[in-house]
């Protein structure tokens, strides 16, 4: 479904992404982990079409993409951002926010679609005409997910979707994302610095360090410790240690 080959992104004189390649099968979920500055978010933004200064090849559903994306691309590929407090227009009601993708793509039946979308992300109908500042962080992120799903995309790009949320809310949102993936047959690419979160949702994981993709492995391999690159091993060890010291000692 998604093929990236030799992707390079440069900001001025700094090369943030130094030629990476990976593939994601249709319906699969791929996680991109790394620390800040590793370039993972940059890759996602280049994939989304938000960043136009990239070199290399990006293919979505077999179609090679150019820096300027077509409207059809935006119907098939959507993104959920990290900060629930900044990803919703402060002056628009939830209803207006959710109807925007439909209006842009000329899709009708707006009222019914909105009601369905809210139900799908487990938001009460009472929320429909509220403004973002009247919603909690978890509710805002659900609206962001609903917005991403409005036009019926096939690919969902997730940029640290739960990093800014409370732990209990994070669990709900992760469960929701897993369920939506199953229900709609979506392809996910998720970026995070939290290994446990990524391993929960993704089956294949790419590890980035300083702009390079240093390892590609399955989530099972990561859990079992079958890592090849020292950076991966270091990240894994740290995650295990912070999770539960007793478990870390035995792993």
């Amino acid at each position: 479904m998604i093929e990236v080959s030799g992707l390079r992104v440069r900001f001025g004189s700094i090369e943030a992404v130094k030629g990476i390649s990976f593939r994601v099968a249709t319906g699969a979920s791929f996680g991109l982990v790394g620390e800040s500055g590793s370039g993972k978010s940059t890759v996602l933004r280049a994939l989304a079409g938000l960043n136009r200064e990239w070199e290399g090849e990006i293919g979505i559903a077999g179609v090679p993409q150019k820096p300027m994306r077509s409207k059809d691309f935006f119907r098939r590929v959507q993104m959920v951002f990290q900060d629930p407090y900044g990803s919703l227009h402060p002056r628009q009601t939830v209803d207006r926010i959710l109807s925007e993708p439909l209006l842009v793509h000329g899709m009708g039946d707006i009222d019914a679609r909105i009601r369905r979308a809210l139900a799908e992300v487990a938001l009460a109908p009472a929320v429909r005409f509220r403004f973002p500042h009247q919603l909690s962080g978890g509710q805002r992120q659900r609206v962001a997910i609903a917005r991403a799903l409005m036009a019926g995309p096939e690919v969902l790009l997730l940029d640290e979707p739960t990093s800014a949320l409370d732990v209990s809310v994070q669990a709900e949102v992760l469960n929701l994302l897993a369920e939506l993936e199953r229900a709609h047959g979506l392809t996910y690419i998720m970026v995070s610095h939290n290994l446990a979160v990524v391993a929960h949702l993704a089956s294949e994981i790419g590890v980035m360090q300083e702009g390079e993709l240093v390892e590609l492995l399955s989530a099972d391999d990561l859990r079992a410790g079958r890592t090849r690159h020292p950076h991966t091993a270091a990240l894994r060890a740290l995650s295990l240690e912070l999770e539960d010291p007793e478990v870390a000692k035995s792993a």
Partner: protein, 276 residues
């Protein structure tokens, strides 16, 4: 040095009447590391700030006892409070981007903190600043001392903040989500640094965070707050055997790298947790 808090209550005015954000928190702190854990709205940050009387003006603070080393903080005047703040108790915030002065170099800020509480010449303060930067394990203290906050990474900025707070050699350090804005690796480094400094100097530490495993890893005792109250108090080592359903819920809903879960347990909030 002992901090005693009994029945701390903090309320804010609202069009619907006063809203209680902290509803009767009590604890004692000696020379140890205490973690206060809670989600947003639990009142943990307000509790930490109340100890230094650094609440917003409209907040109403009440307590049966609020003492720092025998000094009654409720009755203390501004002068007494100023002698405690900074000099005897320091506060580290979450994001150094917002807590460091953007138009002063790191070294200048640390030197200022040093001189404000210890006096001395500018040169002595500058030397002390470089020394403190080395103590927070910055490899090139002279360069960092001359750098501005926006030129430093998040982790370095936090180290500068820690150096600034340690300059007057306080007895208590309150760290309010000091690493939430940082990567896991840097997070661990900073917390280990704080741990080491606190042990070496015989300081007390209050670590406020939303990250339960993190806090249990770096603290001796943990307080879990929910809805303005302390719902659980236990030793960090025995956190896995926590009794309160909220704490158990927080522990169970985390994804685990070691143990895959098909679905994450969702925290069911029981309204009875809000009652005493």
């Amino acid at each position: 040095m002992e901090v005693i808090v009994r029945n701390l209550r903090i309320a804010f005015p609202s069009p619907q009447g006063p809203v209680e954000a902290v509803r009767g928190v009590s604890f004692t702190l000696g020379e140890e590391k205490l973690g206060i854990v809670g989600e947003s709205g639990s009142g943990k940050t307000l509790t930490g700030r109340a100890l230094l009387r650094l609440l917003p003006r409209q907040a109403k603070l009440e307590a049966d006892r609020l003492e720092f080393d025998g000094i009654d903080l409720l009755e203390a005047d501004e002068r007494t409070l100023r002698r405690i703040r900074g000099k005897r108790a320091g506060l580290i915030f979450q994001d150094p981007k917002f807590s460091l002065n953007p138009v002063m170099t790191a070294g200048a800020q640390i030197a200022e903190a040093w001189r404000a509480h210890r006096g001395g010449t500018g040169r002595a303060a500058h030397g002390a600043a470089i020394d403190l930067l080395a103590q927070v394990q910055i490899r090139d203290p002279k360069r960092v001392a001359g750098a501005y906050p926006h030129e430093l990474s998040g982790g370095m900025g936090q180290r500068v903040m820690i150096a600034m707070m340690l300059a007057p050699d306080p007895e208590l350090l309150i760290a309010d989500e000091p690493t939430s804005a940082l990567d896991a690796t840097v997070q661990a480094e900073i917390l280990r640094l704080i741990e080491a400094l606190v042990s070496r100097r015989g300081m007390a530490l209050i670590l406020i965070s939303h990250d339960l495993p993190l806090v249990s890893h770096f603290c001796d005792r943990v307080l879990v707050m929910y809805g303005g109250r302390v719902v659980e108090e236990c030793n960090a080592a025995s956190l896995a055997r926590a009794k309160h359903p909220y704490t158990r819920g927080l522990l169970d809903c985390l994804p685990s790298l070691a143990r895959p879960k098909r679905q994450l347990a969702v925290l069911k909030r029981d309204p009875s947790w809000l009652d005493p």
